[in-house]
Every structure is written in structure tokens, then in C-alpha cells.
Amino acid sequence: MAELEVRDLSFRYGAKQALDRVSFALPEATFCALLGPNGAGKSTLVSLLTRLLVSPEGQVVVAGHDMARAPRRALAHLGVVFQQPTLDLNLTVRQNMRYFAALHGLPRKGLDGRIDAALDRLGMAERAGEKAADLNGGHRRRMELARALLHRPRVLLLDEPTVGLDAAARAAIVGHVHDLARDGLCVLWTTHLTDEVRDGDHLLVLHQGRILADGRTRDIRGEMPLSDWFLSRTEVVA
């Protein structure tokens, strides 16, 4: 069964068609890269997947729950790392995590242990008492990831999560999320950077609001480097 399924999803901003009948299905233990140039419709798709926007056309199903009919259950199974920082810089790492836990209705009993475990997975356990303002960019992103995993979602959505990070921090976070997918999580990773996509990943290419390609990266790019394949398809069409 698909953990994340999108069926015939369309969206318009007035006259502009931002998404046009987008469909895909992702099973568990999948790392799916959603690759698209700027303006392809990635942000709109992320907003629809997280119910920041609602479309009258199409369907989003998270862990078997329809986002339109059962938004609470669907959102409860979805972890999101937004492109924009969500941390309150005045609060400590632990206070930020507690705030998020409450937003998701996690019980207070055993919460600290859960927070410690989530931070530990990301190598952040010793920073629990530090103010978010004192963390560097890489650590803040890792904390965002730990936050998104705190309620143990079945689907993890990351919206260009490496923006502004240096090469080492980028590589670390890409590697870690691949590990999470290998351990069973269904991951949708949006990006416009081809070097974040591995050959074995599931690849969705979004261009001008439509899915241009859907399959295994190696099969899609053929003999061409992914960056060349991507440029040839998106620039020619543009």
C-alpha cells in the first residue's frame, strides 16, 4: 500500500495553472526526490500536501487517510521540514521540541525521553539545553529534522531542506535522510539540486506544474548525468 498517494491534483492561482493533474504513489521505505526548477510548482505541491492550501481538484492520501476528509489523522502521520526555519530562537532546543510535541498532542509522560532519543539520532543530544539562536545552520537543520520525526510519522516531507547549508552539512543531512528511508520511512524530498539525488532513489521530475518523469533515477537518466538530463528536459521545454 502506498504511504503517500497523490491523485489528479491540480491547483490554480487565479488564471495561472500551478499544478496540472499531478499523480504519484510512494510506498514505505522509499526516498523520493521531487526535482524541479524554480517555479515548477514544488512549493504549491508542498502546501497542498501539508494542507496549508486545499484544492477542489484531486486527492492527497497520507498513510491511508484522505487529507480532505480526515485532515487530523493525515497530518498526524506526516512529518514536515519546511524550507523556512520554524524554531523559536529565544527558546532552547528542548523547549522548541516540547512546543512541537504539544502541537501534535504527544503525551507529556515520557516526552523528555522521546525528545532525547530524537535528538540523539541526529547527534544533537548534548545540545538539548542550548538556545536555538546559538546553533549553527547545520545544527538548526538537524534540529528541524529531529522535530519533524518526534511524533514518529510514517511520511516525511522535506521542502528544499539544504538551502543555505555548506557542503558538509548538506551531505550529512542527505545521508541521514537516506538512512531513515532505508529503515522504513517514506520520504519525499523536494529539491532543485541534482547532486542530492542518488541513482537508486525514486525520482519525480516536476516542470511547469506537470510530472515530467516518474521512476528510478538510474532508469530515467539513462547514460546521461542527471544534471545534463534535467537541464535538457527543463530548459528545452521552457
Binding site: V54, T86, Q95
Partner: protein, 263 residues
């Protein structure tokens, strides 16, 4: 149910921590009405003669007259401050984090609004305390009786901030919009002068003041401070809160405008 309460506590707790970390905001919120009270009112007390009007039963000083208006001013500025922080939250990701919680969006926004209102009310009491130190006092039980009025007024002005925040695209646009909201609302009200005095100079201005919901927040506070109820003001404030709250819910509906701006 415990989840709803837990999320309310978390959102309000975050508002409170944010307030604690911004001490300058607290000072600014206090200095503003105190300047009006101790400088402006002192200068104008001779110029502005006041007759005995309800809820007052005797002649009062001008300083005493403007205290309720200044309480409402604290609520007004805080409501707008809260709306400013909502626009900031939207530019950052915190608003997205809030709105992707599985709890009902209306409840999340109400908790945010209520948390900000409680902070405002704390500041009003700090202001009333300082005013009392300068011998500008109200009946003792008035300080208790005014609490529901302050909360209601704070909710109304916070809901107005919520509505404005949904229509303001970027932080840069904020100052301009505020000038078109804060100053007209404050000066076209009974905060600084009674409505009958306004009528003496212009019938139209009087009608505008009488139609301004802020006037009714001021009057509700004024009457409650003197242990009386102004039913008309209460009806206006409740009605305005309901209307503004409904507009805010409409504006923050996921199928509508707010997030379409990619904020």
C-alpha cells in the same frame, strides 16, 4: 480534550516566553500610555473641561478620564504587535508549523489570540498600578470587575490584528497599514475626549466615533472600572469580536488567500 488543552497551554506558554524575552516591548507598552497620562493629560487638564457624565458621579480630573482610553490603547498596540508577529511568523516557518498541527485551525488561532490577549492584560494592570502610584486610582473592586472587559477588548483588537495579518503581504507593508489603523481608531474614539465634546465640533466626527468599535472597548472598560455595565458597549464589543473572528477564520481558511502568497 486533554490534547486541546495541551496545545492551548503550549501556544500560550510560547507567547508568554516570547514576551519575557522581549523586555523592551514590555517597556515600550508601558511608556507609551504613561507619557500620555503624565505629560499629555497634565498639559491638557486645564484646556479640556469635563462635565459629569456616566459612570462618573462627580467632577473628575482629565487624568482620571483618559485612564480607560489608555488601557484600551495598550490593548490596541498589543493587538497590532501581535499581528506584526503573525506576519513575521508567516515569513518564517512558525506559522506553517502551527497550521500543520492536526488540531482544528480555528482552535489554534484562538489560542494564539488568547495568549496574546493575556499578555496585553498583564500590561494594562502594570499600567494601572503605576497610575495608582501617581494617585490616579479607581474603586478597588473596579480593578477586578474590569478584567473580563479587558479580555474581551483584547480579543476584539487581537482579532482585528489577525485579520490585518492575513491581508498584509510583507513586513515592510506593515507600518503603513498601522498608520491607517492605530491612529484613526485611537483619535476617532472616546479615549481622549467624551463623545458629546466631539459633537460640539462636528456631528459627522461624532457619528464616526460612535461607530468605531474601539470607542466601545474604551467605554466598556470605563464603566467596569466603576463597577457599572454599559450594555451597549458590551454588545458592540462582542459583536465586533464575532465578526472579526469570523473574517480571520475565513482569511486563514486553507482554501483561501493567506498561504497562496507563498509566505
Amino acid at each position: 480534550m486533554s490534547g486541546l488543552w495541551g496545545v492551548a497551554r503550549a501556544i500560550m506558554g510560547r507567547e508568554f516566553l516570547r514576551f519575557v524575552h522581549q523586555r523592551e516591548r514590555f517597556l515600550a507598552a508601558l511608556v507609551r500610555p504613561l507619557v500620555w497620562l503624565l505629560v499629555f493629560a497634565a498639559g491638557f487638564r486645564a484646556a479640556l473641561g469635563l462635565s459629569i457624565i456616566p459612570p462618573y458621579q462627580t467632577y473628575i480630573t482629565y487624568e482620571t478620564y483618559i485612564v480607560p482610553g489608555l488601557c484600551a490603547m495598550v490593548l490596541l498596540f498589543n493587538g497590532m504587535q501581535s499581528s506584526l508577529s503573525l506576519v513575521y511568523d508567516r515569513e518564517m516557518g512558525s506559522m506553517r508549523l502551527l497550521l500543520t498541527s492536526p488540531y482544528p485551525r480555528g482552535w489554534l488561532l484562538f489560542c494564539r489570540l488568547f495568549g496574546a490577549t493575556l499578555i496585553s492584560v498583564l500590561q494594562v494592570y502594570a499600567f494601572l498600578g503605576i497610575a495608582a502610584l501617581f494617585d490616579i486610582t479607581m474603586p478597588v473592586w473596579g480593578y477586578v470587575a474590569v478584567l473580563p472587559g479587558l479580555i474581551l477588548g483584547g480579543l476584539m483588537l487581537g482579532a482585528l490584528g489577525l485579520v490585518l495579518s492575513s491581508f498584509i503581504k510583507q513586513l515592510e507593508n506593515f507600518a503603513g497599514v498601522m498608520n491607517f489603523v492605530i491612529f484613526p481608531m485611537f483619535f476617532l474614539s472616546s479615549a481622549l475626549y467624551p463623545l458629546w465634546k466631539m459633537r460640539e465640533s462636528s456631528e459627522l466626527l461624532h457619528d464616526i466615533c460612535a461607530f468605531n468599535p474601539f470607542t466601545h472597548v474604551v467605554e466598556l472598560i470605563r464603566f467596569l472600572l466603576y463597577l457599572q455595565m454599559n450594555w451597549q458597549a458590551l454588545a458592540w464589543v462582542v459583536g465586533s469580536t464575532v465578526v472579526l473572528g469570523a473574517v480571520a477564520l475565513w482569511a486563514y481558511d486553507p482554501s483561501r488567500a493567506l498561504m497562496k502568497r507563498k509566505g
